[in-house]
Symmetry: D2
Subunit: 337 residues, 4 copies
């Protein structure tokens, strides 16, 4: 491993960008935040100061800067593809928040660019792969104790955020995309067919989503459902249940004290994703930095980012048609085998 | 309440029939088993002896017998409708095991016969309504703490029984029928649309079912999934989860000791339905007998039996077509309002 | 089993007496409540009417009445011994609520009277033996899966009842007596030594008890602690944990739905003993009646009632001395082997 | 915070020493392992190589070395006091594994040396304070939701390690010492009185301990029990339950998947302390390093190390006398207020 710290530039300083910047600066061994970029100068300055970094407002310069070793993209979704392509062009490793792109075509361009570069540069921010609740379940599946996995159930319940109305499209591309990746990763299978149903959040906005349910069939014969809520009523919770040939398993994610008070026993649920996945985000940046310093980037690839969007694309078409829709994907390049 | 014990005839002495006969004879206050009928004379004799009853091999005589006050039907499914109609014709209360009939047309005939009789005579054996885990959930929903229910998830996992291969049709009409009733009862809604998917139990028998998933849409806008396994790998388990506007709830059914031994903590799951629902079956016959003696039969009605078959019918058509199928039902008679 | 119903007289119609009377009248097959006695005539009348029984105010006449087959004693603690002795003298089976007596000497008189009668007549109301949570644990221990039991922990948490102040003596003789019996029954061992500690409920009443802890050593080398609360803050809960040579186990008693709402997941705890042990009390009277009709009374014996008071006696002495105190018991008569 | 990494010397490379060295080298931001000391040269070399450090066999030189900023003591218990005193003499911050010393007199010398030095230098390795399960419980207590804490129960169950026979003295000073600190920390109280009971591990070795139970009374009137097992039969588990005025709470530490397989549902328990407290040990060194670089050492102090030994001392005397024994401590210096 290189003796020098990896100089990371963080692009975007919203909730997730500033979380990554702080994790890199305070908790990630072998990394330094050299620069922080946001078009909101004030926000960039604040995060930069907390990280001992400089603040900039232009991403292109930052990517090109020879003093920058690696790029973390946490800017608005619509900018992900362009920034990823720029990082690839500069030959620099990139950790790109999900979704990899906002169109399937853009995601395909990134895959092709990485193929052309001939080396693995992109990691997509599907941090659940390093969340202990999820990775323990993956290890269990890998052990063979449950036999072949037959059925996947993902639940993804969010607390309501103020007056925000989420459209079904947003729920799919921005939130359920996590569950689509979890499904592929844990089931070792691809989705063939997707049907999306939802309950509107506001009666006068039929495409607003309060609760959504995606029914997916897999190329190994398996069945999956993804449940999403935009207003759980109790906090933030993500869970996976898998039925295997020999038994079933589900993630277990509540670790706060069991309290007995006022008529019952209770346990707190995480209020938000920051709390629930705090450890996973730390592990993710450490893992990313370690793998770069060791010369072998790991974790969810550009192909994973593309394939999650392939599922999202079928879901979006199903949300329009009201019918099950087949997924449409290019063949998997040997590079990603 | 009448001072005299209710004289009950039990038709059918298989697993469920002999369970009911024993419960009536030993555990149901205010009831006696006066006769037990089975075409298998030996089995009838054995059960009759255990219950202090006489054994017969003809059901028609038994139903007509003036010494018999009420009929419990636990014979093979195909005979349910005819026996129910005979009991109604004799003006005698009947507790009929599910399914009420094996065709929608037969179930409709029973509804019409009861309507013509002008009094409530039929109770269908959906005993989950008196299972504490289920009735506690129902009470919670009724309390309004969860707001309006939006989404129902039923799980119904069975242990494999020897070499038995269950066809998807059998899974629907004989097993999932319970979950269909639970859904209607707990959601206070009717099913509009049903899509059934399943994994074959044997590769060479495409309609054999190892795992099945029914996706249902409800007339109040709600969404439901029913999961069924014919080979859980660990025992027998039935659960319900409901997402409401204000929160979620799920049944809790494991009450055996928590054991720490050999690398982990564990809790036994019921090995079979007899163990899991032992208490519910006792409550069911007591409740049935009490309600008859008080002159006001209660519990799941012939209409409930019919409507569960309406869902099953749509599921069966979906199993053929591979598509979502609309339910088809007659209008609810005012009698069942 | 006798064809006729057992005619039971219920003495005492407070909370526990009326519960038993109702259970006998409505839920116990093979039993009738023939008479109900209470010095409070109005209360006796109310319970008698609900049970279809006659009300009386004199216990002696009732016990002597040839129309009465068996006696259930649920009168104030101080009267238990005298009534038990009268029932034994009349040769009638008796189910006596705990404590069997309020002094060790009185309990010994009952044991001696039963010995003199030469037949088993007394059952003490330690209904936890038939509570499924407890009997499942007992079955687990009997299976040998945990090896020899080494350590017992009993918890017995009560909700505060209005302004009632409970003295440490009352906590021991009236409430912890249950846990003392559970300990003997589940550990198959006797207590040698007892040390009691407690936190006063009111600073100005040093013998008022809010929380009590009994440390007991057993004649098989085992160790036990009993925890008691008179003001749990959340409801009523009874639990047992046992450490065995090969592992540990604890009772599991919460079966209400798991609710997610308002920041956490929760489960209701029983509000009081009536709710928690409703099923156990029903099983207890059914079991008692069945065993009498079969001619072989079972369940906790007069000896068990005596031995629980032997432990209570040592605890009372410890509450006075502040030191560990040895138990003092007569030798077990062969009759109770 | 200083820009330079803290140069840490690790003394002792057994299980806990090499864990700390690895954590410092790979997971602790702002720290470097400059040297590793062990009298076993081979083991020192192996750990040194893994950490990019040099290996030495003399501790005194290392402590004196101006290139060493801070000392981590993980050598055999008997050497802790001397090494701590040397580090204090050198004016260097030290993280000393528990127990702080093997005699109360030695612990007092360390307290006095730190007092003389006039600055906080010692942190004792009671890492449970930063274990999320424990710190969440502490935060709950601090929130006041449970009212004043009345009763503490600590459980500390270890898997058997080969043929190792643990004496009751070892269980107290080396293992239960953790629980003694947890008690003081979570209850904000000191122990007044201690009674220790145990079951021998081998019948012919009365002071061998298989299971131990310490009963402690606190200076705020509270009651505590500590349970320890040297052969749990299932793995490693540490738990705390606290009864407060308004309710109770217990730590919740199992986060592995819930598995349903082979007749039951189960969850893995940590096999050993390394697995259970992996995260706590990482947080501990990071927290230690951060606090030093910020110029304000935090965490369990020399006083905490001393006071835990005060409890252990009373327990050791109780193990000899078989009676409750009063604790004996010097007055708390204002420095540690």
């Amino acid at each position: 491993m290189s003796a020098n710290s990896l100089q990371v530039a963080v692009i975007g300083t919203g909730a997730i960008g500033s979380l990554h910047a702080t994790n890199l600066a305070l908790h990630t061994k072998g990394a330094r935040v050299s620069a922080v970029m946001d078009i909101d100068r004030e926000r960039a300055d604040a995060v930069a100061q907390a990280c001992g970094a400089r603040a900039v407002t232009d991403a292109a310069d930052l990517i090109a800067d020879p003093a920058v070793d690696a790029i973390l993209i946490a800017s608005p979704d619509a900018s992900h593809a362009e920034l990823c392509l720029a990082a690839i062009a500069a030959g620099k490793p990139v950790l790109c928040e999900k979704p990899l792109a906002t169109s399937l075509a853009d995601a395909e361009r990134i895959v092709n660019a990485e193929l052309a570069a001939g080396e693995r540069l992109v990691r997509v921010g599907f941090m659940r792969q390093v969340d202990p609740a999820h990775s323990d379940l993956q290890a269990l599946l890998a052990s063979g104790q449950l036999g072949a996995p037959l059925r996947f159930r993902g639940t993804h319940f969010n607390p309501r955020r103020g007056d925000t109305i989420i459209r079904i499209e947003g729920a799919i591309v921005n939130s359920l995309i996590h569950d689509m990746h979890s499904l592929r990763w844990l089931m070792s299978a691809e989705v063939q067919n997707a049907l999306v149903q939802w309950l509107p959040d506001r009666a006068d906005m039929p495409r607003s989503a309060r609760f959504a349910l995606a029914h997916l069939t897999l190329d190994n014969g398996g069945l999956a459902t993804l449940e999403w809520s935009g207003d759980s009523g109790y906090g933030y919770e993500v869970g996976v249940e898998i039925v295997g040939e020999l038994g079933t398993a589900q993630t277990h994610s509540h670790s706060s004290p069991t309290i007995r008070r006022g008529g019952g026993l209770s346990q707190a649920v995480s209020p938000d994703w920051q709390d629930r996945f705090a450890e996973a985000y730390r592990i993710e940046t450490q893992d990313w930095v370690d793998s770069i310093r060791q010369g072998a980037p790991t974790g969810p690839s550009a192909w994973d980012g593309y394939m999650s969007l392939v599922i999202a694309d079928a879901c979006l078409r199903s949300a329009d048609s009201g019918l099950p829709e087949l997924t449409r994907a290019i063949d998997r390049p040997a590079f990603y085998a």
